[in-house]
C-alpha cells in the first residue's frame, strides 16, 4: 500500500484516497468547435507511461480535496505532491 502525503493533512494510508488518473488534461474550451479526434484524445487517450507519471488523487476519506502527485509507475515511489494549479517538480505545470 502507498503512503501518500496529502498537502493539507500530511501522510496517510492509500486506502484513505481515491485515484483520479492522469493529471494536467485540459478540457477543450469550445467543445462545439473541437474535432471528434481532438475530443476523443481529451476523453479517452492517455499517456500511461512506464516511469514518471503526473496523476490526480483525492483525499476521499479525509479533507476530500484533490491534488497532484508525481509517481514512478514501476517502482511506485512518490517523487512529489503538489496542489492543483501549483507547480510540479521542474517548475512546469506538466512535470512529465
Amino acid at each position: 500500500m502507498l503512503q501518500i502525503d496529502c498537502p493539507w493533512c500530511g501522510p496517510r494510508d492509500e486506502t484513505e484516497f481515491s485515484y483520479g488518473g492522469e493529471a494536467h488534461i485540459v478540457r477543450p474550451s469550445d467543445p462545439d468547435a473541437t474535432s471528434d479526434e481532438a475530443w476523443a484524445d481529451y476523453l479517452f487517450m492517455r499517456t500511461n507511461p512506464r516511469g514518471r507519471h503526473a496523476e490526480q488523487w483525492c483525499h476521499a476519506h479525509g479533507c476530500r480535496r484533490w491534488f497532484n502527485v508525481v509517481r514512478d509507475t514501476v517502482s511506485y515511489r512518490i517523487e512529489a505532491v503538489y496542489r492543483i494549479g501549483g507547480q510540479g517538480p521542474g517548475g512546469s505545470h506538466d512535470p512529465a
Binding site: 500500500m1 492509500e14 485515484y19 500511461n48 507511461p49 496523476e55 509507475t73 511506485y76
Partner: protein, 416 residues
C-alpha cells in the same frame, strides 16, 4: 514436429524420457520476415499459429522480451466463458470458446480445457435483473446460459454460503455450462510448438525498443538483438501496449493496472466448478493439483510493477471467506501480480492503426485469457488481409472517435 500420442509416450519411456525432441527450435533472428509479432503471450503465439495455418504466412517471428507465457498468460486465473452481454462481445468470445473446444486436438497439445461450468452470482435484486437480462441476451446470441435459483444453487455447490444472514446474501446465479478453465502454460507452449512446426521463429529474450517507419509505413523494429525488418507488424503486448504505441507516436485509450491472484495449499477435491461474484469481487476455482485459484481486483492506480497492494488481497479474501466459510483456515501458498491493459469500455482493441502495416491487439484488461484462440484467429485475419474480420471490425481504435463503444463494463462486471 513429432506428434504426441500414447504411442510416442510409450516409445520414449524406453529411453527414460531422455530423447524427447524440444517442443520448439531456438533460432537466431533473421534480418527480415514477412510478419513480426511483438509479444510472446498466448495471444501473440496464437496469432502466429493462425497466420501460418489459416493464411499460409509462415515467414513469421514472434519477438518476446522475456520468456513466452511469462506475462499475463502465465499469471491469470484461467477462467474461460463467453456469456458477455453485447452482441459484438458475445460473438467474439463465443468464437473463441468454440476454438477452445477443439484446441487440444488441433495443436496436438493437451491444454487441459475443462468445461466444468462458470457461475456468476447475484446478490441484490438489481443483480438478479442484470444477470437474467444477460442470460436472455446470451440465449438470443446462441450462447448457452441459464438462470439458477438459489435452492438449486445450494444443491449444485453445497459449500457455498447461501444463508440469508450473509453480509451480501446470494439470490441466484447465471451458469454457463460450456465455460470452465484451461492450463495457462500449456496454451502458450502448445501454440508455440504448433507455430514452430509450421515454420514460425519463436525468439525469446528479444525486447522491441523501437518501431521503424518510412513515410507512414512500418518497415521494422529495433530490438535488444538487433534490427529486424518487416512490412507488417502485429503488437500484442498487453500491459505494455501504451509503451509500444508511443514508439510509433500513437496514443491509446489504455491504462495499465496491477491485477493480483493467489493460490492456496493443495486440498482434496472440494469445488468442481468456477464461482465468480461481481458484487463482492471474488472468484475461485480449484486446480487439478488441488489448489484454490483465487483472483483479486485491480489496484486503483496505474502501474507496471507486476505486484499489487496487500489491502486488495485482504478485501478479496474477506469476500471469498464470506462465500465459502469453510475456506477460512486454508493457507495461501503464493501470490503475484500481472499488468493488465484496461480499456474504457472493458473491450479489446484489435485493429489497424494510422501507420500502414502496424496492427495492435490489446485492451483485454482483466479478461483476455478466455479469448486467446479467438483473438489470435481474428488478428491473424486482420494482418493477413490488411482488414479486420467481421468479428473484430467493431473492436477498432476508431470506436473511441466515433463513440461506438461496446460497454461491457456494467454488463459483464468483473471481466475475467
Amino acid at each position: 514436429m513429432k506428434k504426441y500420442s500414447l504411442f510416442s509416450l510409450a516409445r520414449n519411456a524406453f529411453s527414460h524420457h531422455q530423447n524427447w525432441q524440444p517442443a520448439w527450435r531456438n533460432p537466431e533472428p533473421k534480418p527480415a520476415y514477412d510478419v513480426l509479432i511483438v509479444g510472446g503471450g498466448g495471444h501473440g503465439l496464437a496469432t502466429a499459429y493462425y497466420l501460418a495455418k489459416e493464411h499460409g504466412i509462415s515467414n513469421v517471428a514472434v519477438l518476446e522480451k522475456g520468456w513466452i507465457g511469462g506475462g499475463n498468460t502465465g499469471r491469470n486465473t484461467t477462467i474461460v466463458r463467453s456469456n458477455y452481454l453485447w452482441d459484438e462481445a458475445a460473438q467474439l468470445y463465443e468464437k473463441s470458446l468454440q476454438l477452445w473446444e477443439g484446441l487440444s486436438q488441433d495443436i496436438n497439445y493437451n491444454v487441459m480445457f475443462s468445461q466444468r461450468g462458470v457461475f456468476n452470482l447475484a446478490h441484490t435484486l438489481q443483480d438478479v435483473r442484470d444477470v437474467q437480462r444477460r442470460v436472455h441476451a446470451n440465449l438470443l446470441n446462441g450462447v448457452d446460459s441459464e438462470w439458477v435459483p438459489v435452492d438449486r444453487l445450494k444443491q449444485m455447490i453445497p459449500i457455498l454460503n447461501v444463508s440469508s444472514d450473509a453480509r451480501y446474501p446470494v439470490l441466484g446465479a447465471s451458469l454457463q455450462r460450456r465455460g470452465g478453465v484451461a492450463r495457462h502454460d500449456a496454451v502458450a507452449w502448445g501454440f508455440a510448438r504448433a507455430a514452430d512446426a509450421r515454420g514460425v521463429d519463436i525468439i525469446q529474450n528479444c525486447e522491441v525498443t523501437g518501431i521503424r517507419r518510412e513515410g507512414g509505413q512500418v518497415v521494422g523494429v529495433d530490438t535488444t538483438r538487433g534490427a529486424i525488418s518487416a512490412r507488417k507488424i502485429g503488437v500484442v503486448t498487453a500491459g505494455n501496449s501504451s509503451v509500444l504505441a508511443a514508439m510509433a507516436d500513437l496514443r491509446f485509450p489504455i491504462d495499465s493496472h496491477p491485477l493480483q491472484a493467489l493460490v492456496s495449499e493443495p486440498l482434496k477435491p472440494i469445488l468442481d466448478t468456477v464461482v465468480m461474484s461481481n458484487a463482492v469481487h471474488g472468484y475461485v476455482s480449484q486446480s487439478d493439483k488441488g489448489e484454490l485459484v483465487i483472483g483479486a481486483g485491480i489496484d486503483a492506480y496505474t502501474g507496471y510493477g507486476q505486484r499489487g497492494s496487500p489491502h486488495i488481497i485482504e478485501g478479496n479474501l474477506a469476500a471469498i471467506k464470506e462465500l465459502f466459510p469453510m475456506f477460512s483456515r486454508v493457507r495461501m501458498l503464493r501470490q503475484w501480480g500481472g499488468i493488465v491493459d484496461t480499456c474504457p469500455d472493458a473491450c479489446p482493441i484489435i485493429s489497424k492503426t494510422p501507420v500502414s502495416g502496424l496492427y495492435f491487439n490489446c485492451g483485454w484488461g482483466t479478461g483476455g485469457f478466455k479469448a486467446t484462440p479467438g483473438s489470435g484467429w481474428v488478428f491473424a485475419h486482420t494482418i493477413a488481409r490488411d482488414q479486420p474480420h467481421s468479428l473484430n471490425a467493431p473492436f477498432s481504435l476508431e470506436r473511441f472517435v466515433t463513440g461506438h463503444l461496446i460497454d461491457e463494463h456494467g454488463a459483464a462486471g468483473v471481466a475475467h
